[in-house]
Amino acid sequence: MHSVAYLIRKDILLVYRYVLIVIPFLLYMAWAETGTLLVYVTFPAVVMLVTSCTLDMQNNSQRFTASLPVSRAQIVWSKYFSILAFTLVGLAFAAVLQLLSMMLNVETVAFGLPEVGMVLMLNLLVTSIFLPLYFWLGPKGMQIVRTVFIMLIAIGSAVVGTMLKDYDIMQHGIFGGAGSAGLQLSLAVISILILLFLSVLLSLKLYARQDI
């Protein structure tokens, strides 16, 4: 298990400087009062995940991880666990922004347990789609996937976040009736967890047979 922790640590050390690039964007969103928790957490977390995968692909660095005394399964698991670490980084960043907004008397974003849960679910959803593609495509084709993913997350998190801000999903659910909100959310959470499970299985299988 400690090898997985070292792999996550590796990913954090690899990408932390790249997060500096998204900070001006997030500060602008906060200043313009258009930011939401999705923007502040999901965007940097996914950028970090995608960047760490890209860096592994460049310069044959996959061979570096493959030469370490870690199994391929541990490498796969570490990528899935990384998103949790990156989400924590995003949450810490959002908390700092929240604090600054309160001090400057700027409108703050909703930052409760339901919102954090929703952000976490969204990050797991994105990870479940992205990582099998990463382990399947390898260096070929990843350039395009990476660009598409970052664009989708940048635009998607802003749009979805604004929609959710205007429309209280906790009260009304996604498809109407107030009474069905809880059921809809539960179904969404279960669906994402099933998708995550299948995604891990697929990634383990794909990476196990890949030549590096």
Binding site: S3, Y6, R9, K10, L13, L14, R17, L55, Q58, N59, N60, S61, R63, F64, A66, S67, L68, P69, V70, S71, R72, A73, Q74, R209, D211, I212
Partner: protein
């Protein structure tokens, strides 16, 4: 016990294949892996590292057949790739900080000694290092976690002659206790002349020979003579032949046979390892205009 053994390994790609190759890496010795570009050397090395899975055959490491992942065994291997595998944008210090915790036997003092010896600046980014310096860093890492088997894919590529010589001495030092083994692939046959105990020669994905270096050099002979000595019966006896307007040079794999046929009419010399490789790869090609 061998440090590693490849047993009948095969691998097929679209435009290249490795066919039924077997050879051991004997404990306490240096095994030199030679062959031209694209011969399959790196693929064989990556099979030992479990980066490439053979389609057929298997690899044994430290006496155990590799069926599942030999994660723990990789702790006992020091690997030097033919290309930089480290993260370009990191400094050597940060890169070391990332990799050291993975090895239970990481020796910080030994590593620092190598950094000093190789004059590697810790605060420099990997992308700003020369190819030789990247290789030196890779060597420092491979030699700093008590690896029993050093697997080096073209480690002398990009190194200046002075450091190449130093490296070979350093590797010879590593074998003092007979516990370490080295697999050393190289195009630079003079390096293997200097250090290797065994030579494994692969060409076009096939094993040409696997012998002690002395056997290789004793068995092969280089015959030099006039073109009038070559006739359709004689030509097939050569493993490789180079003809010019003034004569021929040919490699034969049977010294006794060579002396019987050419003893009094041609010059018979002991070839260098480079000549063995050159003539074997060249085969019985056409006329060379000299």
């Amino acid at each position: 016990m061998n440090a590693a053994t490849l047993e009948g390994v095969s691998k097929r790609y679209d435009s290249f294949k490795i066919e039924d190759i077997s050879f051991p890496i004997r404990k306490g010795y240096v095994t030199g892996l030679i062959g031209p570009n694209g011969a399959g050397k790196s693929t064989l090395i990556r099979m030992i590292m479990q980066m490439v899975k053979p389609d057929a055959g298997h690899v044994e490491l430290f006496g155990s057949k590799l069926e599942n992942e030999a994660t723990g065994m990789r702790e006992r291997i020091g690997y030097v790739s033919d290309e930089n595998v480290f993260y370009d944008h990191l400094t050597l210090k940060r890169m070391t900080n990332i990799l050291a915790p993975f090895y239970r036997n990481w020796e910080t003092d030994t590593f620092r000694d190598y950094l000093e010896r190789f004059e590697l600046p810790e605060n420099k980014k990997i992308k700003d290092l020369s190819k030789g310096m990247k290789m030196k860093f890779s060597l420092a890492v491979a030699l700093s976690h008590s690896a029993e088997l050093l697997i080096m894919d073209e480690p002398t590529a990009g190194l200046d002659p002075v450091f190449r010589r130093e490296l070979l001495d350093l590797l010879a030092d590593q074998l003092q206790d007979d516990q370490r083994s080295i697999l050393f692939s190289s195009h630079i046959t003079s390096d293997l002349d200097r250090i290797a105990d065994y030579i494994v020669f692969v060409n076009k994905g096939k094993l040409i020979f696997n012998e002690t270096k002395d056997e290789v050099l004793e068995r092969h002979v280089l015959v030099k003579g006039g073109n009038e000595l070559l006739d359709p019966d004689i030509r097939p006896l050569f493993a490789g032949l180079r003809e010019t307007g003034v004569g021929f040079e040919g490699l034969m794999t049977d010294r006794v046979e060579a002396e019987r046929i050419f003893g009094s009419v041609a010059l018979i010399e002991q070839p260098t390892l480079e000549e063995v490789v050159y003539f074997t790869v060249k085969g019985k090609g056409g006329l060379v205009h000299a």
